[in-house]
């Protein structure tokens, strides 16, 4: 009889522990995660002139939908999305001599009328010096605001498309028909997307 009583007590205690575990150990939390997205716009430059222009189209909505999908989140989960920084790097350069370039990168919307606004200015930037190096850019508020508006439109259900343009104004030494300036470079925008997720976490006591 004593053995039965003891075993019954043990089973009861275990049952209480398990019942308690299943009902109150896991708690719901609405946690704000940060998803980091890097959007790059590659430019192929091949020009005999110092004042060359080049454009790259970025389908922002597609990029954002892809990164949200990778993180098991949807557009409706976004709390906010904002530009963090921009860097650029030269991805291909094989001249026998370096070039210093001066100009600006502008941004405008393709899907609606907005911009162009200057995103960044670069002055006497060595092309060879930026080869394989992420150069942090000092950003212009007008260009950043335009992209932040595009991010807000995306959150509201829009499908923003951005056009980045390089407007180069000076090259030293000056290029010529016999000495084209040829290189590839890539400005990359870092965006933080704050998404909220309803998850279960263990918090038993």
């Amino acid at each position: 009889m004593k053995v039965i009583t003891k075993n019954a007590a043990l089973i009861l205690l275990t049952a209480i522990l398990i019942a308690g575990a299943s009902s109150c150990i896991m708690e719901d939390r609405l946690v704000e995660f940060v998803v980091t997205e890097e959007t790059c716009a590659p430019f192929d430059i091949d020009s005999p002139l110092a004042n060359f222009e080049e454009a790259a189209v970025v389908f922002l909505a597609d990029d954002l939908n892809e990164v949200l999908g990778d993180n098991d989140a949807a557009r409706e989960d976004i709390v906010t999305a904002r530009i963090v920084s921009l860097s650029y790097s030269v991805t291909q350069f094989s001249h026998t001599h370096d070039w210093d370039i001066t100009g600006a990168v502008t941004v405008e919307r393709q899907d609606v009328t907005d911009g162009p606004d200057t995103l960044l200015n670069y002055t006497d930037q060595s092309v060879e010096g930026a080869l394989g190096v992420k150069v942090q850019a000092s950003l212009n508020e007008d260009g950043v605001d335009l992209i932040n508006r595009a991010l807000d439109d995306f959150i509201a259900g829009g499908n923003p498309v951005l056009i980045f343009k390089v407007a180069n104004g000076g090259v030293n030494p000056a290029p010529s028909v016999s000495d084209h300036i040829v290189f590839q470079w890539e400005p990359c925008l870092v965006t933080h997307i704050v998404v909220k997720k309803d998850i279960e976490v263990p918090d038993p006591f």
Binding site: V144, P202, F205
Partner: protein, 313 residues
């Protein structure tokens, strides 16, 4: 309830019996992916401290060990800590070339669920991820005691389970658990003059716990704990056994997770601060033949409590 949901709940419950932290590990990896280096360390440190405090409690209990009588006892116990306000935030620093660099108070893994945003140059903003708003952190562990040979008892903790590989993404997220611990406890009363009012023992215990899986198949978290100390207990009437102990504990934890925070995918390996602490235990055990129940409070750099039940002889 759909079958998949029943399976998932069963898996969660099974995991809870050994380690309630496991479902958290996959979510932590998501949050960590926004961080590198010192930020990741600061974000995770309260959880690492909690792991150490939990693992190093509920080990020794009664100092009475049979000298030449076989004993075998299987125990299940829950070890837990409560988090204080100091554990909820850390000083984080902006990353990703954000200008100007700023240091702000951001949530740790156990802190507020809300992200923290700071403004920078030219209309830019930086976001620090939220925490999981945890008040406590508990582990559960099966423990086997085998004795008594010349007043010595061996203690084992072991569990291994893989909860990954299910059809559902959430099942996959649970990851795996590998838990092993071994220690010895020896009766030192036998070397003392007769007439001691209490039983005395000394012992050590080492444990390794790995949880979760990163995208490269390695462990997300690995934790090592070691405790060495002395215990005293006294058997009173009605099977009551109050006990106390003083030990020196160490704990280390490493985290290996995947991140694309700087635009390129890489594995970030973080060694969290190793902790060492003196640890004082006060507990009470109801020790009947065949079964015992115990509860104890542990005072250390992070105080903890433990309770459980054992079955054996």
């Amino acid at each position: 309830m759909p079958f998949a949901a029943i399976v998932r709940r069963s898996c969660v419950l099974l995991a809870l019996l050994v380690c309630v932290a496991t479902p958290l590990s996959a979510q932590i990896e998501s949050q960590l992916s926004a961080y590198t280096g010192a930020n990741a360390t600061g974000y995770l440190q309260p959880l690492a401290n909690a792991f150490g405090a939990d693992l190093n409690c509920g080990i020794f209990r009664s100092a009475s060990i049979p000298h030449l009588r076989p004993s075998l006892r299987l125990e299940v116990q829950v070890m837990s800590v409560f988090f204080g306000d100091d554990d909820k935030t850390f000083m984080a620093v902006t990353e990703h070339g954000f200008s100007p660099e700023q240091r702000v108070s951001a949530p740790t893994v156990v802190g507020s669920e809300k992200a923290v945003l700071v403004d920078g140059d030219g209309g830019t903003s930086y976001a620090f991820p939220g925490g999981f708003d945890l008040h406590s952190f508990a582990l559960a562990a099966p423990q086997l005691r085998v004795g008594g040979l010349f007043g010595t008892e061996a203690i084992f903790r072991y569990f291994a389970i893989r909860v990954a590989g299910g059809d559902g993404e959430e099942n996959k997220d649970l990851g795996d658990i590998n838990f092993f611990g071994f220690g010895l406890k020896h009766d030192i009363s036998q070397y003392m003059p007769p007439g001691l009012p209490v039983d005395l023992s000394a012992g050590f215990f080492w444990q390794r716990l790995s949880i979760g899986e990163n995208e490269r198949g390695g462990h997300l978290m690995e934790s090592n704990a070691f405790s060495i100390g002395v215990q005293a207990s006294k058997k009173l009437a009605y099977f009551f056994v109050p006990y106390t102990g003083l030990s020196y504990d160490t704990h280390s934890m490493s985290v290996s997770y995947d991140t694309e925070s700087d635009g390129t995918k890489k594995t970030e390996n973080i060694d969290l601060d190793k902790t060492s602490t003196l640890h004082f235990t006060l507990g009470l055990m109801l020790n009947t033949p065949g079964m015992n129940i115990f509860g104890e409070y542990n005072i250390a750099s992070l105080s903890s409590f433990s309770f459980g039940v054992g079955l054996g002889f």
